[in-house]
Homo-oligomer: 336 residues x 2
DNA sequence: TTTATTTACGTAAACGTTTACGGAATAATA
DNA sequence: TATTATTCCGTAAACGTTTACGTAAATAAA
């Protein structure tokens, strides 16, 4: 309807479309008076250049894609928040896609994005096994920055947190506060993110001369209901006095399971989890968390993507590691 | 790089670009053998049509925009989740923008979207006062569906929840459980969403012959820190024995304030809040919430937008109201 | 004065699709 | 056989920009 284009604008001004285009882009080939006239008329008629025409001509989309497992997740929504803010500063647009942890969907999204719809992609991998070869093809055609959920076997720029150290320190904290039998709720096993957390757990146990008991590692299931059952049985059977949960989604069920099993946190069981829950402080008991700088990860990842766009990034395989924050609360309090 | 276009594909097949295009869109003008050949070669060469060229030609973007105040918010992230799923089913792309409650930013986003970048917009309004005239211009040029944060003075299709009834019932619940002096933490005052919640509160008080005391209505401040101070002072000064919070962001500080003031929830103060916190159950004490069907709102809103696209929507000003769910928990327990 | 340079703008091509139009070959009908 | 309809495909224009190229006028340099 209102859709006014550059030709009509030019006509209104008795100029050619080329002149108008150049004036709007502040070209030195246009006199300042003409520029002023054009700007004024453009404002008056509410002219907005058609992005598809621009993009088609210029092969730039001014758009980036963000691919995450889930949007409704404390970590990812914060990361997207950071990404959006950076994009906005640069007048870029942000497309979002969620994979629901399916690498098939992930691959399908990536393929669709190869058409030039976006200038670059920020991705946090689905936890399923990935087709690494496919990723190589992708990143040859499109700048990609990985964040948080990364894979060692896939080359690329990566922003992560200090997963190994965080897990290690978490276990150390449990031990210092009296735990003798520490369980691990594992997830993201196919990704280096998950592997590092697990390794941190294992090494901390070893360094403290804890026995190497594979039974204390629980693998997460397919959905929340299954996870709850798994966790309840895990606790009931193995009776750990401390648990490190590799993701928030596995820590919450521990509360319910402990209530069901009549176990007191932290007396009978101390709990610590990777989590970006805003109000871990208000849980009963308050939850000791490994808090990842989610917003900053988003900002950093987006920032690097823009550096790549501007040819100001020279480390195609660099991994940037931000520090997580261990926040000690009631759920791991030492019992006198 | 790899970017293959329809001409190269056509060349490879000894066909014209037109034939290839038609074959890919399954036109009846193309023989089935040719179609098969084209499809095969397209798959083989990983051909993806350039969306900008298609959009430019067809004046369709296959993209929708979602404008929300904040992404990192339990309600909005769930709504976006719903929207994304519906969009995905239809092979649509989703752009997200956050206004951080600024109507200036909101207006600026909307203006940029008028260029044809998207086929439609889903918006949840910023809580600042809005330029209603501007919205009229917008919705003449672009299909817009409002969700949750809506404004009575702005025409359009709207998806909301039963804000009035929810607030009314919440207050009724507080009264039934013994509250004599019920405060209201107000927000979104410029929007009908906020006005209806407030009115529900007021009418419930009136219907129960409670005195009309404006002092018991607290207006939210500019940020979390200010809100905390406001709330603490509010509780300390007016000593309500019940509080209805119109948004989750005002309920959480109540916990901290009560701890600070040595007040026990629910003994000294009962608390209920509009909230989509996943684990309200685990708070200390567990929080009674008015749970909005956030995901469903997203699904519904997106569904209607697609109906509008397909000319299957005939009610330009209909408001669809979904029901919220009052979940009673410890924070409003009656004290014997 | 002649020639070179700069300024300021217009013309037209290009980006990669889709589609109106047309046409040749084949099949159907008279 | 002559006419009409159908099938299948190609040509070219169009979508709205941006930009290489050209050019006329004005200015500077020779």
């Amino acid at each position: 309807m209102g859709e006014i284009n550059i030709k009509q604008l030019a006509c209104e001004l008795n100029l050619s479309a080329a002149t108008v285009s150049r004036a709007l882009r502040d070209s030195h080939e246009i006199s300042s008076e003409t520029k002023a006239r054009v700007l004024e008329m453009a404002k008056k008629l509410n002219y907005e250049p058609n992005p598809f025409a621009s993009n088609l001509r210029g092969q730039k989309s001014k758009t980036i894609a963000v691919i995450v497992p889930e949007i409704a997740n404390n970590f990812f929504s914060l990361a997207i928040n950071g990404i959006e803010e950076v994009a906005r500063e640069r007048d870029y647009h942000v497309l979002i896609y969620q994979t629901h942890e399916s690498s098939a969907i992930e691959t399908s999204f990536l393929n669709r994005l190869l058409s030039g719809r976006v200038d670059g992609v920020l991705i946090s991998l689905a936890c399923e096994n990935v087709d690494k070869e496919h990723f190589k093809k992708i990143s040859n055609q499109l700048p990609v920055v990985f964040f948080d959920r990364v894979h060692d076997d896939i080359d690329g720029v990566k922003i992560t947190t200090d997963d190994y150290e965080s897990a290690y320190n978490a276990v150390q904290h449990l031990i210092e506060n009296g735990c003798k039998k520490i369980g691990y709720l594992s997830a993201l096993n196919a990704l280096s993110t998950g592997k590092k957390r697990l390794q941190g757990y294992l090494d901390a146990l070893k360094d403290n001369d804890f026995p190497d008991d594979g039974n204390l590692i629980m693998k997460s299931g397919a959905n929340n209901d299954e996870n709850y059952t798994l966790i309840k049985n895990f606790i009931a059977e193995h009776k750990p006095d401390g648990i490190l949960s590799s993701i928030e989604e596995l820590a919450m069920p521990c509360y319910y399971a402990c209530k069901e099993l009549n176990l007191n946190i932290p007396v009978d069981l101390k709990l610590i989890s990777f989590s970006n829950l805003a109000h871990a402080q208000l849980l009963n008991p308050s939850l000791t968390t490994i808090n990842q700088p989610a917003f900053e990860i988003g900002v950093e990842a987006a920032g690097i993507l823009f550096k790549i766009f501007n040819k100001r990034w020279y480390e195609p395989n660099q991994t940037i590691i931000l520090k997580s924050n261990l926040i000690k609360r009631e759920s791991t309090r030492a019992i006198a």
